[in-house]
């Protein structure tokens, strides 16, 4: 709830909507008859239309990347630390575009949208999309905005995977690919966490095989547990220790199963508030998008072959305290790019915040990103 809008904020923003009337084919073999995509923009597109940055969101993100929707908002957009006038992604010189991806639940066509064939919400019938499908739909948004080539495509986590896929799928349509806290594919451990999240949702009696909209309910408990689990994997042991320790809410243990430790209270709060603002079918879908991401699989599992025709310059960043997508995973991307003699810079930021570090205003991270964005603004490297 900002009393006044901070000077380095993009201020009050209003989402816009792309209505795409033609069918779009999806990797799963199905197609959508058309789609709507909500997005926000910050800054001004210059006359040469070469200063546009595409921001890709992660698992539970959306198009609201920066600024406020109203003076009543408690928090700004999810990447407000990085986007704004004078911030690393400086809206004084860049035109920033942030869409909500297909399958989302914040206004873009997804499981909550009406299936024209049935006249009811898609629910579990919404096709499972992929990162490539997202990139294809984002390219249609670029067409709509008259952007032939992005100055950069940037994102953290699942957003970074989109930035990587962009470089592979549309080598000529971006000059820089900015992959933060990403991975070239999920590990078995990553997929395992996603599966527990899905099982939590799907085993909730209120799930009704994904048709809970028809029953006027939501799988509240399942989605809450999924989020609680997810949340732990976004933090680190150290950051949880620093934040909660073993602190007790009432200062003593009560030999019961109610909330006793602060960390329990926090996780329950995070889970409960998430349930109110996110759709369970979308959550299921997003975890599948993550699980399926593997750009090397069509190239004999060789990532450098997958990246062979890319023309973008890459900036890859990872955080030492991130165990969900550890620096090792980012280095796999760097290794493949070095093998292919591609332009890449890599920064491994010392930070204990866990995976969520990519959302935090960590000085070293801000400095590195800001400096790289200067390079983007200047139009290139060697």
């Amino acid at each position: 709830m900002p009393e006044t809008i901070p000077a380095d904020s993009v201020g009050l923003v209003t989402p816009q909507k792309l209505v795409h009337d033609a069918p779009i084919d999806l990797d799963c073999g199905r197609s959508l008859p058309g789609f709507e995509m909500v997005y926000e923009t910050y800054g001004q597109l210059n006359t040469r239309k070469d200063n546009a940055i595409l921001i890709c969101h992660a698992l539970s993100g959306d198009h609201h990347a920066a600024g406020y929707h109203s003076m009543e908002d408690r928090k700004p957009g999810w990447w407000d630390t990085c986007i704004g006038p004078g911030k690393p992604i400086d809206t004084n010189r860049f035109f920033v575009v942030a869409p909500n991806n297909l399958g989302g639940c914040k206004g873009t066509t997804g499981p909550m949208s009406t299936n024209p064939e049935t006249g009811k919400a898609y629910g579990p019938d919404f096709p499972i999309v992929t990162v490539s499908d997202w990139v294809r739909s984002q390219a249609l948004l670029a067409d709509h905005l008259g952007i032939e080539q992005w100055a950069a495509v940037a994102g953290g986590s699942l957003g970074g995977m989109q930035a990587l896929q962009w470089a592979i799928d549309y080598p000529d349509r971006l000059r820089h690919s900015i992959v933060i806290a990403g991975a070239p594919k999920l590990s078995a451990q990553n997929i395992g966490f996603n599966e527990i999240a899905r099982q939590a949702i799907m085993s909730d009696p209120d799930f009704h095989e994904g048709r809970y909209y028809d029953y006027n309910t939501i799988p509240r408990r399942g989605l809450m547990i999924a989020r609680m689990l997810g949340h732990i994997t976004y933090l680190s042991d150290l950051s949880m220790r620093a934040k909660f320790g073993r602190e007790l809410r009432e200062g003593k243990i009560n030999f019961g199963f109610d909330v006793e430790f602060q960390v329990e209270s926090y996780l329950r709060y995070q889970g409960k508030s998430f349930v109110e603002k996110f759709d369970a079918n979308t959550y299921l879908l997003m975890t599948k998008v993550l699980d399926y991401f593997d750009p090397a699989k069509d190239y004999d599992d060789d990532l450098s072959t997958a990246l062979k025709d890319t023309r973008a310059e890459f900036f890859v960043a990872a955080f030492t305290g991130d165990w969900r997508f550890a620096p090792q995973r980012s280095r796999e991307i760097v290794k493949a790019l070095v093998k292919g003699r591609k332009n890449v810079s890599y920064s491994e930021i010392t930070a204990h915040h866990g995976h969520d570090a990519f959302l935090m205003p960590i000085q070293d991270y801000m400095d590195a990103l800001r400096t790289y964005m200067n390079r983007v603004a200047q139009g290139g490297a060697q």
Partner: protein
């Protein structure tokens, strides 16, 4: 430690135009930038220090944050024409293993280091103190230099590792090749530059 213009020149003179190079401990990227401008090289710098990473990005070079002590196993054999390590050898944990790695991933290695056999170092040791010189400005307790060597030591290592010294330049304290440094390199040379390959 940043290289002087004369040393940049000497290294550049050894490098074929258009080569693909890796610069270990690239600092702010001065050398790579110079090599790109003078020799049209492509390639990467590796650096561990975050502030230098930012400066290297500013310098428009490809820089990869890496701990050289963790090794170069992620880089494939024969990836580079030259692997350069300029005034970093003495600060790494396993100099011999790193040199071996340099010549696995690169066809040739270019290594420069401060000569601990320089008369000034010898003088200070003679008077019972650890040397603090222009090329070794740190005191014993805060120096990153944990594997100092003399020119003789280094050449012994090259022999033990069956490496061929293709070229050597020894410069004096003005960072220029001089007659005295040429005649008595291990005594008069302050910094040594080597170009090596496997026999």
């Amino acid at each position: 430690m940043s290289l002087l213009r004369s040393e940049l020149r000497m290294i550049a003179d050894w490098i074929r135009p258009g080569s693909h190079v890796l610069d270990l401990g690239c600092g702010d990227g001065t050398l790579l930038r110079y090599l790109h401008e003078e020799r049209q090289v492509t390639g990467y710098g590796m650096e561990i220090d975050q502030d230098k990473i930012v400066k290297a990005i500013e310098n428009n070079i490809n820089v990869i944050q890496t701990d050289l002590d963790a090794g170069l196993s992620e880089i494939e054999s024969g990836s580079f024409d030259y692997v350069i390590m300029s005034e970093t050898l003495q600060a790494v944990r396993y100099p011999d293993k790193l040199i071996d790695e340099m010549l696995r991933i690169g066809a040739e290695a270019i290594i420069t280091f401060p000569n601990f056999g320089h008369w000034r170092c010898r003088m200070e040791l003679f008077y019972g103190r650890m040397p603090v010189t222009p090329s070794l400005p740190n005191t014993w307790y805060n120096t990153p230099n944990i594997h100092l060597c003399t020119i003789k030591d280094f050449e012994q290592l090259c022999e033990d590792m069956s490496l061929t010294v293709l070229q050597r330049i020894v410069v004096d304290r003005d960072h220029k090749p001089s007659a005295t440094a040429w005649l008595l390199p291990n005594l008069m040379g302050e910094i040594a530059l080597y170009r090596l390959q496997r026999q």
